[in-house]
Symmetry: C2
Subunit: 270 residues, 2 copies
């Protein structure tokens, strides 16, 4: 079972993929590439970040899922983000990491290393690579990234907020949609705009006492104010109430489309 995720080795995506994959994990450079690889059958599973508790939605993932046919979400994985400051020794005057990781450690850096230059690179793993090759540069990444390298952990749990978690979707071909799971995701493009439209789209769930865990709007790309809605609900696709609610939504969105991504349960990995 081949799994693809965002590389290089050592990213938080890699950690999530390793936790849920029995086979090989290989790397791609963008979420779009991963989703495409699964859709055309070049990979069995893709692991993509969907939401972080501080940064919010990963819009690249929402848009790739909305644009791609033939995919299912088969699992959901939540993993804590724990940042550490890694360096060869104390003599660093710069710190390299993904822009989001730098932002998530801003208060720590302001307080402990105000004079150190902050350099945004493509991934936390790339920052580690830089720090391994350059003793004047530190990295911010998971503390395990220092294992087996010349890097020391100079500070651990340095993110500004104690609660920092990222949700990942494990995607597979639609044919392998799981029969069970207590949460479901759908994407709706109503291709319409009138007073009360969003409310109409949400009522079929409320009428059946189905909790909406998340509603996110993304531009359709057609015109300003025209949206695609991503809806997560706390109810399985196999449940009659879910099937009926989604059927009602499909009727409201008759001028557009509804994509049923499938059902899953949340798994927490360390």
């Amino acid at each position: 079972m081949d799994t693809v995720t965002l590389g290089p080795a050592g990213t938080y995506s890699h950690r999530a993929a390793s936790a849920v994959s029995a086979g090989d994990v290989s790397f791609m450079e963008s979420v779009r590439d991963i989703v495409d690889a699964v859709a055309v059958g070049d990979a069995d599973r893709g692991v993509v970040p969907i939401e972080n508790s501080i940064q919010g939605s990963v819009t690249e993932t929402l848009d790739a899922l909305a644009d791609t046919d033939g995919l299912a979400v088969v699992r959901e994985v939540v993993t804590p983000i724990r940042h550490a400051l890694l360096a060869q020794d104390d003599g660093f005057d710069a710190v390299a990491s993904h822009a989001q990781a730098l932002a998530q450690c801003r208060e720590y850096l302001d307080a402990t290393h105000p004079a150190v230059d902050r350099r945004a690179v493509a991934s936390t793993a790339r920052g580690v690579e830089v720090a391994r090759n350059d003793e004047t540069t530190a990295a911010i990444a998971h503390p395990d990234s220092a294992d087996g390298t010349e890097l020391d952990v100079h500070g651990s749990g340095i993110q500004d907020r104690a609660s920092n978690e990222t949700r990942f979707f494990v995607v597979g071909p639609a044919s392998e949609r799981t029969p069970a799971g207590g949460k479901s995701s759908i994407i709706v493009y109503p291709n319409a705009n009138h007073p009360g439209l969003l409310l109409e789209l949400l009522e079929p769930f409320a009428d059946r006492n189905i909790n909406l865990s998340r509603v996110e709007s993304r531009p359709s790309g057609e015109r300003l104010g025209d949206y695609v809605f991503h809806v997560d609900i706390a109810s399985g696709c196999y449940e009659e109430r879910t099937r009926n609610a989604v059927a009602d939504v499909a009727e409201i969105a008759a001028a557009g489309w509804v994509r049923r991504l499938g059902s899953y349960d949340t798994e927490h990995v360390a």
Copy 2:
């Protein structure tokens, strides 16, 4: 009347600010800096991008508005994004621009300049600066950026979608909230999570036949699944139905807070 916006000179933010400002326009490096400058009285007005018809919300702006007291949205400006390819001559082998501008012209670049290297820089204006200093690098920016420079326009209207617009908010101190305007924005943090909560928050508007033009959720930063909601409605703050609806929302969000950003009309500038 001093106005601050995202610099350097020549950005789309600068174009929007110039169109609505009678006085001086000066530049800052981040939305957060602009919002702070207006909140503490260092500037009279700030012009910040809130949403693009292709890329979606500018989350940095949503979060800065949610975090800052004492601000009002006094105007809304919508401006078309029109990209051009600018270079000293035909001998370029790279193109520099903001990552979003490069993404918005991907199909054009694939078709006409597949071998040209794409380099992401901090702003479209910074790309123009690079192209002016380096004849091997082109820029993507508004065609007016070539005026008075050695750069020629090698392609105009090169964005992949005809409809590409950005909405900007003009923010001022809360004391200058305008008395009129047919659209309003509020931010709600319910600090609660139960089945039907989002629906409850939207019903006060639907019950009064007020159209929701946009609902966006942003993480509260407290825990995964806990959100701050940004709500735009097609109704003025001065209207009784709006006041009553927002009062109902404030009651539902009694454990959290509601921020009334004010009312405005949409102005389109070229």
